[in-house]
Symmetry: C2
Subunit: 404 residues, 2 copies
């Protein structure tokens, strides 16, 4: 039996960051930056007035100036502001050359082209200097960051029209089992609907991968052999008697460049984990129970995608940073939980905020295999192996399930 961490480390070690592609700005949302994305230009590009008023030279002591022009967004004043001169400026207008202060519109009077104001009305602080937000060449999105909606606006403001991102890792999903029917099909007595693939595809997409569903394969060598045709960065085989049955799979894929191991991993819920290499492509085999398989996906597919996407590890350090993009955080238990054996245990729970703290209320352990309970849960409570019974109020590690 190996620990979850050891199994994760072995799986993750077989992946490396995958190839990159240049994408147009409009397609960058949700993609992962393959290199630091830098601003093409200062923002703002020139000093900008943040108020309505008049641009003047501060050193010019006079309180009467001649209005020589106008500056509005998109319509800069082309000349220079000299002593005794002022330029009417609208919010967002570029500060004309020569000017270094703004007189508030409300604190000045314009009498047939002559501006009158008191010196107190000179406000250099209402000029937003060029590059205040960021300078050309500064990093807007660091390598390994998944680009958010706010990053999209930031990249646009920096004049970034294209950027290099990681290709979406392709994950082929095969559901193996003679007992499986597709939802909507007439099923034979006792058959169950293939469910895991639908959940897994959506999870993989939400984690930045490109799922490709192979559909249902029967539990025999001939059907399983078709997995070898997958053009993917990772192959996932779900359920079936044969998944974990090394002999059958080896026979099915034996003619290809294939190797496989079956690991007993010290966690629950969970069955043996299959890990192989299929013509150079890593392959994972998960248990047939959808609720168990989706927890396996969280533990083994998500970190593998992170490696392929070159995701910054700083965004998912456990458990300090609170981020839904992060793999874990902590919470207090509402009730006691029994001691664990040698297996790390993932308990489904609801979360609630109370007095600024996050509280986790576990579902009964007997409800493990139930998909209806997994769908309702907000988080997994993580209990370490060989841990004593946990008391109500104890702080525990949790993995939030928000977003998938």
């Amino acid at each position: 039996m190996i620990t979850v961490e050891e199994a994760q480390a072995r799986v993750v070690a077989t992946f490396k960051p995958i190839d990159t592609e240049l994408e147009d700005l409009t397609h960058l949302s949700g993609r992962t930056a393959a290199e630091d994305i830098r601003a093409a230009a200062d923002n703002p590009p020139m000093p900008i007035s943040t108020v309505d008023g008049y641009a003047v030279r501060r050193a010019d002591g006079e309180t009467t100036r001649k209005i020589v022009g106008r500056a509005a967004p998109g319509h800069p004043y082309r000349g220079s502001v000299g002593n005794g001169e002022a330029v009417r400026i609208v919010i967002g207008g570029v500060l004309p050359e020569g000017a270094d202060a703004i007189v508030f519109h409300e604190e000045a009077s314009d009498e047939s082209g002559d501006l009158h104001f008191s010196n107190a009305a000179v406000h250099p602080e209402h000029i937003r200097p060029a590059g205040l937000d960021f300078k050309a060449g500064s990093v807007l999105v660091p390598a390994g960051k998944r680009i958010t909606a706010r990053d999209m606006a930031l990249l646009a403001a920096g004049g970034v029209a294209q950027a290099k991102v990681r290709r979406r890792p392709r994950v082929a999903i095969a559901s193996v089992g003679d007992e499986l029917s597709a939802p909507g099909d007439q099923r034979r007595p006792g058959d169950i609907y293939a469910a895991t693939g639908y959940g897994l595809s959506a999870m993989i997409a939400s984690w930045g991968g490109a799922p490709c569903d192979f559909g249902i394969l029967e539990d025999n060598a001939q059907e399983i052999a078709t997995i070898a045709d997958a053009d993917a960065d990772l192959v996932v085989a779900l359920g079936g008697n044969s998944v974990g049955n090394t002999d059958l799979i080896a026979r099915a894929l034996g003619s290809t460049d294939f190797s496989m191991e079956t690991w007993k991993v010290a966690y629950r819920p969970g069955r043996p984990l299959l890990f192989g290499q299929l013509g150079g492509t890593p392959m994972l085999g998960f248990p047939g129970n959808p609720a168990s398989a989706l927890v396996c996906a969280l533990l083994f597919i998500r970190p593998s995608l992170d490696v392929m996407l070159g995701t910054q590890q700083s965004t998912c350090s456990l458990p300090q940073r609170f981020k839904c993009g992060c793999h874990a955080m902590s919470a207090r238990l509402t009730t006691e939980l029994p001691a664990t054996d040698e297996r790390k245990t993932y308990v489904r729970a609801r979360l609630a905020m109370q007095g600024g703290e996050v509280w986790a209320e576990p579902y009964p352990v007997l409800e493990y295999p139930m998909l209806s309970v997994l769908a309702k849960a907000d988080a997994l409570v993580v209990l370490p192996p060989n841990a004593p019974a946990a008391k109500a109020g104890d702080m525990v590690e949790i993995i939030p399930l928000d977003g998938y």
Copy 2:
């Protein structure tokens, strides 16, 4: 001046749940259920053995049985198990008729078709009864829930091949301003890149809407008039001198069925909010500063989309439930914040978990207009109007920005 809540209420009141469409299961992820989605069948469909062993009748006192057949996933035993009989059963196999208990494989011996075991090895608890996870007709996804990856697996397990969801609300976005250039274009001196639309499109998509970017419009009646062509459920005009300039917009759109109000909303950062009706379609006008506009989107577009999608209000009650899908939660301040005036104030902050509590570390108020700061922030700290100065350690309401 009206309060944020009053402005939100007025905006939201103009929307109602939009039309529905029937979608195939593979396209349901991220969509919002328009009605309760119910299971087409029990899960499991029949009683299932959760262990390897032999299916027997419990009432039959004998400890020796004749093995009459085999039941494996996809290969049920067609007959009935009588007294003195046993059926070899594989994990996931359907319990044959007549049987009501499982004898563990490890606790029995099979001698040329005769099964020997002790009575203690009879385990009725290892039978998962039909419908244990859910029964046919039970609600798998309630109306108004956004369908998660886990829900996808649940729906598939329930044999749901299609479901009725809300159409994605179409949001047309027009960026108005003579000073705007598109990222990648050669820009005129002093021009800035149109940025808000890129961020807003990604936000709207993440909230379940279908953004449609109109691009950049010049700040004149002729260009602004093209907004009237938008085939949308909501029109958003961004920035420009004229946005908020009722006269110009009224002139531009006057030939159409158009009405508009400009509201001074008591919040910062924020400028006047424009709210109109354009041929029956609600229209919002946001300030030109991208950082302010994106906060406006959170405050006014998100709840509008929620109404159109019929999103369950229970998933976003403030601030009890901790959910990233939720609009708010609470945290403790790491430092003091000044008293507020009559305006509700949204302060950007970083979040960190410490001792099970969420802590918010505000960015300096002067950094408000900066998109680079908004992009880095984890949350907005919400300070009510006319609030005294907040001390370090005080509990405050926050709006997490995770996911967009």
